[in-house]
Symmetry: C2
Subunit: 323 residues, 2 copies
């Protein structure tokens, strides 16, 4: 794996924009077509390598009346935006174990504008994830595997999981910091561990960070320096709770001249500020620090914020009782 | 120098709260006595080692009609809050080269509640800074030296400066990221360099970070891991422009049981949220990312935000012209 310093161009780097997927969790996937079209073109102009449009969720599990279309990412809806996607940018969707009717909904790639399926799993649902990986590759897609909530898993179980996944056709192992609980020192250690299995089996490693402790960007570039190459980001960090590594930080940092932050600034000025004004809530805030520090799901913090509360000490005391 | 890992207690760590000093730049130092008294007690209960009350500015240079009293930090004003400061927490003030009438205003320590004077200088005003250090030590104070804007200096000049400072009685060399321009890799390198001179001359090293690129906390704990021990923070990151490393992140992170984040949460709930509502502006925002990425003074971004502008791309293009 290549590693680099601040002046290196790392040819293995792939930037993945997850604004509509992780950000969709903040507005139930109700993005206007204008938003999506602009994001698609701005991402292409910014040099983004993959754009994730949303989830491939089962309509039997989630009602299409209650969510915008990007919760389901029908091929036709993507095609209405991207046409034949005549661009160097690839299209990704996420499929959750247990929430995706993958044998029915993930059809052959030659009928679809999608290039990559990212499979999100907990460690205990790994066998289903493996079956999904195999199905997606049979259908002709690239895949990535995102093992979520690893801050609650044991290292030896994670190693066993990576060893199983190494034997599947999956392309990318993602380090996922679901709770925004990891410090740079830990991210560097996880990077080395994931890379060890990746090198053994010829895979790449990615990182998906959350910004609870204001470390999403820092952890992402620390992972990059260790040799991680798939880097998730979202415009203005839009994503559940504290949100993600911000595209404008990451793309402004990367040294490869193919990346250009200015189209991202356009997306912010033209759309993201308005979303915020319309009341869509996400991003770094005190309650998320507390769930991050205590390695806890952000849902408690989201509820606290929605209630307009500021008795942060009470929240912390309640969180200490949760585990 | 001791280094540590995530579970270490580092006995050399000193947390310095700079809320009123760097934060005072956002509200012209008009803090209510209630705010200051609560901050003083909350800091003591949080285990903070030093609390910086503000600047020791010359009343000949700055008019007391235009600034709150913490721009000047008269001993009597500090004493009205802290009495004889019967606590383990030390009191600090900052004195800027060229803006402090130090021979007149910095009086013998046995007449003052102040313990430490932090001297802020640019590299080209080092000789005055050295004279200030010597004066302060003659008066009986501890000192720290904060060389500002080092992202604009050459490494060899900085080494020469540290070598000169090593021969003075100064206690702490501060790494200061005035423009929020440094990445963790650079902060680790600066830490090693400052520590080399510190070890040679028996000094300590500190870090004062800015949050332009959402790296203030990450850079601070990376520096800590390298052996830096004086750590600046401010409550809710209050400080000029993008603000500083947040006390609630740092104190929640530190493992020494003397540190306790809950009093900081009280200060936030009781005061900081209200300051924001009253219109005091600070903290991470898109324009600061751009000045940070381009290693530029935040004043352009502050003005852009005060004008309510969101044409971020124009700002970036203008910034590229500035240098």
């Amino acid at each position: 794996m290549s590693k680099g310093n601040l002046l290196s161009v790392r040819e293995d780097v792939r930037v993945l924009d997850a604004t509509m997927r992780d950000g969709g969790l903040c507005n139930d996937f109700y993005f206007t077509d204008e938003f999506v079209r602009d994001l698609y073109h701005n991402n292409i102009n910014a040099g983004v390598d993959y754009m994730e449009f949303g989830y491939k969720a089962s309509k039997k599990v989630f009602s299409p009346d209650k969510f915008g279309k990007w919760k389901f990412c029908d091929d036709d809806d993507i095609r209405a935006i991207v046409g034949e996607n005549d661009s160097p940018m690839k299209i990704a969707v996420m499929a959750d174990v247990g929430r995706c009717d993958y044998k029915r909904d993930i059809r052959p790639k030659n009928e679809s504008p999608v290039d990559m399926v990212r499979i999100a799993t907990y460690i205990h649902t790994l066998p289903v994830a493996v079956d999904m990986i195999e199905h997606c590759h049979k259908m002709g897609y690239e895949t990535a595997i995102n093992i979520m909530a690893i801050s609650k898993n044991r290292t030896e179980d994670l190693c066993a999981a990576l060893d199983i996944l190494g034997k599947t056709p999956v392309n990318v192992f993602y380090i996922v910091d679901s709770y925004g609980a990891f410090y740079p020192e830990q991210i560097r250690r996880f990077s080395q561990m994931y890379l060890e299995y990746a090198e053994k089996y010829g895979k790449q490693v990615g990182i998906h960070a959350h910004n609870n402790q204001s470390l999403a960007f820092g952890n992402t570039i620390d992972a990059l320096q260790e040799g991680v190459s798939y880097l998730d980001c979202t415009v203005m960090g839009m994503g559940r709770g504290a949100g993600n590594c911000q595209s404008e930080l990451l793309i402004g940092f990367l040294k490869n001249p193919k990346y250009n932050v200015e189209p991202i600034l356009d997306q912010i000025g033209d759309h993201m500020t308005r979303l915020r004004e319309e009341g869509v809530k996400w991003g770094f805030d005190i309650p998320y620090i507390l769930t991050g520090q205590l390695n806890s799901h952000p849902r408690t913090a989201i509820e606290f914020i929605n209630q307009g509360r500021t008795d942060y000490k009470t929240l912390r005391i309640d969180l200490l009782d949760l585990d």
